[in-house]
């Protein structure tokens, strides 16, 4: 249905149902045992719809979405690679999905083995000693990693170290995670190419610094060539290095974060290891640490016994618990399947091919788009909008025009180092033909911007909905159907 515009509540008719339960089977009236004043008096107005109506409704909603399976999704910093279908199927196996997390250890050995294997694989790929898979997302991993950092200093009685250094080009989550972890953020300046300014860093490194958060390649997709010197400086000052794994993809097969001197890192399984982004989650943000930090990882943790069986352990020096159980197990299963599918022979090509794809787009488009930093990039790069600034066409306009041509837009207005940032990350799973199509359309939009800028400024023109009134939405928030119904009445 092309113009489907119903909300599920609008399909509701009293008495309709989309479920069936067994007939009364116990001969007991349990509810009669609960005093009336502990029961709700006003009914929850959930919809009453038939099964087919539910199926059609959500199928129609899915048609209003754009995913990696729909088309090219060059959203910088999000690593929107292909999500292999076999992984979905394996992760749905009832023998895993039906496990209660508190089941006897003997009845979950397969799950624990998978879990432990993944801990080991990630440790090897990262060049670190051990991983916790408990964190639910990248930002949750950052928070957990910073807690490890603080727990390390606490364990040494070093309570002065309450500050963490974050580059001004960092992902917005870095300073926010630091805040939540109770750390004060100290900004270190970036050089024009986005790299950390080592001269600016040096005077910041005193005995109040818990550590530094970095990503490498940085948010401009450029490798931090002075990383070894930075690691040395931070370590000598008594701090730890945290690696934001958001940009890990180009390093697969080439560089291990642990070998660059990082002590703590998180990995986004939903980026580097192909698990679906799910419209925003569930993700998974495992945290890895160097040998001297293993005891501080969160509880609980999966370990292998000498007899080859697996168990769940709790450590006394641990920073504590950061999740109800052992994290998003269903997501881990998919990452595990992905690593095994690629194997050691193919996984080493992930980084190089992701880097190749990014450089190919960059070199193909730098005639029409402003490339502020020349030179080889890694998995992504940033344009500062169109080269020709006279047309008045902004990065937002270009992004919206791309939607008309059937592509997802790049990440826009991030990083904040440039006014018209357009961050493009193609990933290694895209073919040359797809990249060529994208390049062609980007050139076409540049041409339109010169010849008919008003068209580009009006974009999108062909999407199911057009430009949205975000101001009114924020001023008078309508956050549920009841409020919407009242507002529309």
């Amino acid at each position: 249905m092309k113009h489907y515009d119903k909300i599920i509540f609008e399909l509701s008719r009293a008495g309709r149902k989309g479920y069936e339960l067994p007939a009364d089977k116990y001969g007991v009236d349990g509810m009669a045992e609960i005093p009336a004043d502990l029961l709700r008096t006003q009914e929850a107005e959930l919809p009453e719809v038939s099964e087919l109506e539910v199926v059609r409704h959500y199928t129609n909603l899915s048609n209003k979405n754009f995913g990696v399976d729909t088309g090219f999704y060059p959203l910088g910093s999000c690593t929107m690679k292909y999500n292999p279908k076999i992984n979905e199927e394996l992760a749905a196996l009832p023998a895993f999905m039906s496990l209660h997390p508190l089941q006897d250890e003997k009845a979950i050995q397969g799950a624990l083995e998978l879990y432990w294997n993944l801990q080991r694989m990630l440790s090897n790929i990262a060049g670190l000693a051990e991983f916790t898979l408990n964190p639910y997302a990248g930002a949750h991993g950052e928070l957990t990693g910073l807690m490890v950092m603080r727990q390390y200093h606490r364990s040494r009685g070093d309570h002065k170290r309450t500050k963490v250094i974050v580059p001004n080009s960092a992902h917005g989550t870095n300073p926010a995670s630091a805040m939540v972890a109770g750390l004060e953020v100290v900004e270190v300046k970036s050089k024009p190419n986005g790299s950390i300014d080592v001269e600016d860093l040096k005077p910041l490194l005193d005995d109040t610094i818990a550590g530094i958060m970095m990503t490498n390649p940085n948010t401009l997709g450029m490798f931090e060539t002075e990383i070894l010197e930075i690691a040395d400086l931070v370590h000598k000052a008594g701090g730890l290095l945290y690696y934001d794994g958001a940009n890990l993809n180009p390093l697969l097969g080439k560089v291990r974060p642990g070998d660059m001197g990082f002590d703590i890192m998180h990995i986004n399984l939903h980026k580097t290891f192909s698990t679906p982004h799910g419209g925003g989650g569930p993700g998974s943000g495992p945290v890895g640490v160097a040998k001297h930090l293993v005891q501080f990882l969160p509880n609980p943790h999966v370990v292998k016994r000498e007899d080859g069986t697996f168990t769940i352990s709790e450590g006394e020096e641990s920073l504590g618990n950061i999740s109800t159980f052992l994290g998003n197990f269903g997501v881990m299963m998919k990452a595990y399947a992905y690593i095994l599918s690629l194997g050691k022979e193919n996984i080493k090509n992930v980084g190089p091919l992701a880097t190749l794809n990014a450089n190919y787009i960059k070199e193909s488009l730098k005639d029409d788009y402003l490339l502020p930093i020349d030179g080889v990039c890694k998995h992504e790069f940033v344009f500062d909008g169109l080269k020709d600034k006279s047309t008045g066409v902004t990065t937002l306009n270009v992004a919206k025009r791309l939607l008309d041509y059937g592509f997802h837009a790049p990440t826009i207005y991030f990083p904040l180092l440039f006014h018209e940032s357009m961050m493009i990350e193609p990933t290694e799973t895209e073919s040359k033909e797809t990249l060529d199509d994208f390049i062609e359309v980007m050139h076409k939009v540049a041409k339109e911007s010169r010849e008919t800028p008003e068209v580009v400024k009006e974009a999108p023109l062909t999407t199911l909905v057009r430009k949205l009134d975000e101001t009114t939405a924020a001023k008078n928030p309508i956050l549920n159907y009841r409020t919407l119904k009242a507002a529309e009445a």
Binding site: I7, G18, L21, D24, G27, I34, L39, A44, E45, V54, N63, K64, N65, F66, N83, A95, M97, P101, K106, I108, N124, Y136, G138, A139, M147, G172, A176, S177, M179, V180, K254, V255, D259, M260, G278, G279, G280, G281, P282, P298, N299, F325, L340, I347, N349, P352, T355, L356, Y360, V376, L403, E428, K432, L468, P477, I478, L479, N480, Y481, R482
Partner: protein, 441 residues
């Protein structure tokens, strides 16, 4: 260099390298110091075809056991209707990311709006966010909301009748962020309300968090609590099992300002602990302190109804170090799960699920008490989960149950055993459980 997920032919490689103007892919890494280049081979197995991969997973699966579950502890074996799996498998949903481009993300935005609406129906509180990681982290964020909303107060009271693993997470967050958490002791299986009164007297309490039902399955009575907390200028939060809110007194009816909990009970697979979702609902007074994403209704340039992420000025990606939370995503697909579940079950179905679970739990309870080998632990009202006491060797009995494909009750120590019953359990399964537990060995 190609494989089934990487399509580059030799010809492609050459053409692309020519365009870039380098001789080899290695030249794209010239800026990387030689000493950090990884020259070894990863210590992972060789590539597996689908056939091999499937075999490997089947082998692992064979080391798990699917049980008839009588354990709860915050995770319940409710039924997941078939439709949900089919709809969640639509890749337009699961291969999308956060709806940054609303024009091509109306599907995601609308189901989040529907999710928010349904959770608000359950909690009675008008603003619900797009979901959190899990119940425990949602509770920790509610603690932060309370501290941020109640200016200059830095202490939060949390009832010890909230599940232990939730309290642990709240304490971890509190310890690093610097919030004082006071755990209110339990008395006869319920929150010691007199202890809350006493703590409120000090005037530094930002908020109080209590559960429904509590960790023993008991439906606690919080009559009068909200007035006291509000009189002391604090906020009241309720940690709730959302499924049970179809029948139990809601957070808003208890006078709460904010509610949170874990969405697993909304038909989600137990999945060895995740993914589930956490929810947060609040009233107007706390809305701008609510973490995470929120979807609002609006109109497009043609006046057509549409949905968009809103209230983003609160968010970390704009506020950076002023942020009060670092969450920048949600458990979106699990929110879709809950939304479809609640659409199918609907107004009557969710009530029936609770009634049936409640009947089954009471049937099991009655049978256990009738054996004479179990006694009530608390004698308080419960819905689908309850605790009994026994002198039997429960460790031994649970092993026997496991041998028979059953996950028995959770052992709480001191002879206390906790059972949960959902609509999936049959009378025969319950009878079998009781017989196996009480047979002489």
């Amino acid at each position: 260099m190609s494989n089934r997920y990487m399509p580059h032919t030799e010809e492609d490689l050459k053409a692309m390298l020519d365009k870039i103007g380098v001789a080899s892919i290695d030249d794209l890494y010239v800026d990387v110091p030689g000493e950090v280049i990884y020259k070894e081979e990863y210590d992972i197995p060789s590539a597996m075809s689908e056939i091999e991969l499937r075999k490997h997973f089947e082998e692992l699966a064979g080391k798990n056991r699917t049980l008839t579950v009588f354990g709860g502890g915050g995770v319940y074996d409710h039924y997941s209707p078939s439709v949900i799996g089919h709809l969640l498998a639509r890749s337009e949903f699961y291969t999308a990311y956060t709806p940054y481009q609303p024009e091509i993300s109306q599907g995601t935005l609308q189901y989040i709006f529907e999710y928010q609406s349904m959770i608000s129906e359950l909690t009675g509180l008008e603003a619900t966010n797009a979901s959190m990681y899990d119940g425990a982290t949602a509770a920790a964020e509610v603690m932060f909301m309370m501290v941020a909303s109640a200016k200059k107060r830095n202490r939060v009271l949390i009832s010890d009748t909230i599940a232990g693993n939730v309290i642990k997470v709240v304490k971890t967050y509190a310890s690093f962020h610097g919030v004082d958490v006071t755990v209110i002791p339990e008395k006869d299986g319920v929150t010691d309300l007199a202890a809350i009164d006493k703590e409120l007297e000090t005037g530094d309490v930002a908020g109080v968090i209590v559960p429904t039902p509590n960790k023993y399955g008991i439906i606690e009575d919080f009559t009068g609590l909200a007035d006291k907390v509000h009189a002391a200028k604090g906020y009241l939060g309720v940690y709730a099992d959302p499924s049970t809110l179809a029948v139990l007194k809601t957070p808003v009816e208890w006078g709460a300002d904010v509610a949170c909990g874990d969405g697993q009970s909304l038909g989600m697979p137990m999945a060895f602990g995740g993914p589930y979702l956490g929810f947060i609902s609040c009233n107007k007074s706390m809305i701008r302190k609510m973490p995470g994403r929120v979807v609002g209704a609006t109109k497009d340039a043609d006046g057509k109804r549409a949905f968009v992420l809103t209230l983003q000025a609160r968010e970390q990606h704009i506020r950076r170090e002023k942020a009060t939370s670092n969450i920048c995503s949600n458990q979106s697909l699990m929110a879709l799960y809950a939304t479809i579940y609640l659409s199918l079950l609907g107004k009557e179905g969710l009530k029936e699920v609770n009634v049936m679970s409640c009947d089954g739990a009471h049937y099991l309870y009655n049978r256990l008490i009738a054996t004479g080998k179990f006694t009530p632990a608390f004698n308080k009202p419960f819905l689908k989960e309850f605790v009994v006491k026994t002198d039997l060797d429960m460790e031994k009995i649970n092993k026997r149950l496991l041998d028979n494909g059953i996950m028995g009750g959770i052992l709480l120590g001191d002879g206390m055993v906790e059972f949960a019953v959902t609509e999936k359990r049959t009378k025969e399964e319950i009878d079998n459980l009781v017989n196996l537990m009480t047979e002489e060995q």
